[in-house]
Symmetry: C2
């Protein structure tokens, strides 16, 4: 990012000279400085490198509905051991080669974590290959340790992969027939701490776990280590790369593309820049008739399903609905009138009767809340919109993803160059009171505890008690930016309280309260009756 | 469980006759009744079926250090889509064929979730096979829909798998050489709703998603559906299976093994029955010398590492330490003097210098908090003990597992027939204040919010500020039962406050408080200085 110039454009203090470079190095992974990995502060990033597990699902979220985009994503062999990452390889089954872009994953086997070898680096080649064929990919291998040879091999393999991707896309786009593709992926095996110190104090460093973090810890007091550091850094031949002021020499600077073609200035990685607002129907047209409070019953989520159906119709390339196999169970199935569930794998004759599957579907269902949330985040981070419905008890599965995305948003809001993105909208159904028959495992209203301790600038809780309040809430949430909206509303038949006018009035009041309150909970519950 | 007689022994109202059977059926998945899946109330269960993702890791936890046990575990193809489950297949790389038992997973592809086909049921056979070979297994297939043929095939395959397992174990145990085994696993493909109604209202039910939950929803008002239900249930020929009183006929009753050999009476599934308490060293012997409060500094977790080392030495077959690649980072590496990290995959020459790996290691490290927690739960649920150290920010990854295990314990405590098991001990290090260099993603003290809203009978929070308080706390936790102990203590150098006598005194006071308090937090923080 720094060498492309983007970083200095945003942070002029980190200038393109020796002084700027010194500042850049000093602040790295330092208290009060910048993180030890990609963070929102870095231009060109949509994926925070801190908590592991979500790189692949973020990449796929970015590729959906971006037919010209190829998203490359590097996955460490440490991250590859996590559960969320392990199932996210199946994301390739959800790429429609006509309307979606492609993801080119690079599984980087450098062999080690902090102190341990990695599982995938210590299994036979055939086993590793079988695993990724089994996941549905077409693995290409780049393996070795000679930098010159490796760069050539990588360039060649990368080119083959891209040709492969384009061939599949061309075939589908020419024929108009979308089917599942065994997309290429790269398995890159190179030494950890590559080109760093080979040995320190008689202990192997390059190509071993000791290369993690700080390979030379004694440079301040140990002359030998200081010399090693000096030699190591000089091995990159900075004199040939930078001029006397510390700026990259012109012929190297010229290698990077210009303007927004630079990787670190890609507008997809600052999604708010390219975001189009949703075209929205009038939410009042789905209103439930309520002549008098508490006289009639209705399923609160059904009219919302109709509204989501029409939003889907009006925004055919920048809106998606996510659910772990529960869109129908949550009474949102009106959506299927406009868009089915995406399915590119094998079909059976019975799918025609109630399967609601289609290669063009825009509803994404997979029994992994992690993958869904990752896709959703990747999708909104690159400037699009979505809606995720899930069961109350099991939303805890993505507690940590919620926390991390809230942190991302809280930092992003302070970065004037990051344009606001659309909100994550979570509808939480099957609430504790209605889960008696499934039992205790299905009962847990505790997600809200997690939400209220987050930054109130980026989190919202809504508890709409009836159809009209839910519609009004959803209308607001789908237009909002840079929030995580948590809407709790059960799907079963419930008493209806407010007619639409009252619902709007109370919602407006609520809006007034919350823009001032510290803990921003909007409770529109039974008290409204009093 | 009911047909084996175990259920009626515990719940005599559900007797072995028509009245008992009626009661059993009526309470199933009914408010105030029993859950829709395995719960703690059911004898023979260690694995709750509610939240999906942990079946395989629980099974491996049960198999560790149980050399004669073969744990069969059925995994639905829905659950198989979750992240925690997807990575837990790698657990087979952690089974030592000499000292551990075996796990025989049965991946059950019935093809559907609530409303959707499953990913793994709709890929080509070769791809499915490659996936499980890639995971390191040896897949056997059982596929079909004719019940008689399928039972025969399943019996035959099961026998082959068990022979396979025993052959590997015999080889390792005879030679004394433990290495990684490609353990067998079964892929069972059978119709969803097998032998249930084929069609209802012209819609396919058997072998389609409609067989999920209640295939005949109109039996009360619809005579045709009532007849279908009648025919379906009679197709099991109850008249030939039960006598006139509703009891299983003697020749069928005789098929089940006797007493604790019944699956539902297996003592491993009521782990407290076979639990041996840990042999414990005197924790005071690891004390830090503190002549005066707040004069010296020490790394709080190092002496704990020495204590854990000696516990490991004294309990060589019923104690394990779990960590996501952070045992050294958390300054607990003294443990390695007694037991290394378990590693059965490929070795490289450099592993001898600082790898700390061994096929006999009792420290389990994998970069999946989900898998570690699942192993740990399976291990204590079958009567053993353990200790899990992880980073504060990333313990949120297992929020939901924490919630569900707390529920399991809360219910279990009310079941007099369930003997108490040892506690889950979670040491949370790398606390928020010491993560400035890694940045915001690595900072989150919020796990305690999750803990305090749980049942105080089964959860504990400890905040020991120094070496001696941590030792005293760990000593208490490792002797405790039926709790989840959350110990927050940073690993870096900190000021030491209390000498051992004061630490014990304050801990004892604390114990007094917490046995009466409602919110059971034991804060032994700076206030102790005043």
């Amino acid at each position: 990012m720094y060498l492309e110039g983007t970083y200095s454009e945003i942070y002029p203090d980190v200038s393109l000279d020796a002084a700027g470079m010194k500042r850049l190095f000093k602040q790295f992974s330092f208290p009060g400085g910048i993180g030890s990995h990609c963070t929102p502060e870095l231009p060109g990033s949509i994926h925070e490198g801190g908590e592991l597990g979500y790189s692949i699902s973020h990449a796929f979220g970015a590729a959906f509905d971006n037919p010209d985009l190829i998203v490359t994503v590097a996955v460490g062999d440490g991250e590859a051991e996590t559960g969320p990452l392990a199932t996210s390889w199946h994301s390739s089954k959800f790429i429609n080669p006509i309307r979606d872009g492609a993801v080119l994953p690079i599984l980087h086997l450098n062999g080690y974590k902090i102190n341990n070898p990695t599982l995938l680096s210590r299994i036979p080649h055939e086993e590793l290959e079988a695993l990724f064929i089994g996941y549905g990919g077409k693995p290409y291998f780049v393996e070795g340790s000679d930098p010159t040879l490796m760069h050539q091999t990588m360039a060649e393999v990368m080119e083959n992969c891209i040709k492969d991707i384009r061939a599949h896309q061309n075939e589908a786009r020419t024929s108009g027939k979308a089917s599942r593709v065994h997309w290429p992926m790269i398995i890159l095996r190179s030494p950890k701490g590559w080109t760093g110190p080979k040995e320190v104090n008689g202990n192997k460093v390059e190509g071993f776990w000791r290369a993690h973090q700080v390979p030379l810890t004694g440079v301040v007091s140990d002359t030998e280590q200081f010399t090693m550091l000096d030699q190591w850094l000089k091995s990159y031949q900075p004199d040939r790369l930078f001029d006397k002021t510390g700026r990259l020499i012109p012929e190297l600077e010229a290698l990077a593309p210009k303007g927004s073609r630079r990787m670190s200035a890609n507008p997809h990685a600052n999604g708010g820049l390219i975001k189009r607002n949703l075209r929205m129907p009038d939410f009042q047209s789905y209103a439930a008739r309520v002549d008098k409070p508490a006289q009639t019953n209705a399923m609160n989520t059904r009219p919302l399903g109709e509204m989501l159906r029409d939003i889907m119709r009006m925004n055919h390339d920048n809106f998606r609905v996510f659910g772990p196999d529960e869109t129908s169970s949550n009474k949102l199935e009106a959506i299927y009138e406009v868009s089915k569930k995406l399915w590119l794998s094998e079909y059976l004759p019975e799918d025609d009767n109630g399967g609601e599957l289609s290669p063009d579907g825009r509803v994404l269902e997979m029994l992994s809340e992690h993958t869904l949330e990752g896709w959703f985040e990747g999708y909104v981070l690159t400037g699009r919109h979505g809606f995720f419905a899930t069961y109350e008890a099991f939303v805890h599965v993505i507690d940590s993803m919620f926390n991390q995305h809230a942190k991302w948003l809280a930092i992003s809001e302070k970065l004037s160059w990051r344009a606001p993105i659309s909100s994550i909208n979570l509808l939480i159904t099957s609430t504790v009171w209605r889960q008696d028959h499934n039992g205790f495992t299905h009962q847990d209203p505790g997600f809200l505890d997690l939400v209220v301790n987050k930054n109130p600038d980026v989190t919202r809780i809504y508890l709409p008690p009836d159809v009209n309040c839910l519609l009004s809430t959803a209308n607001h949430c789908l237009r909002s930016e840079n929030d995580i909206n948590v809407i709790v509303c059960d799907k079963q038949s419930h008493v209806q309280y407010l007619d639409m006018d009252s619902a709007i009035k109370h919602c407006t009041k609520g809006l007034g309260i919350w823009s001032q309150g510290q803990v921003m909970i909007k409770v529109m519950s039974l008290m409204l009756l009093w």
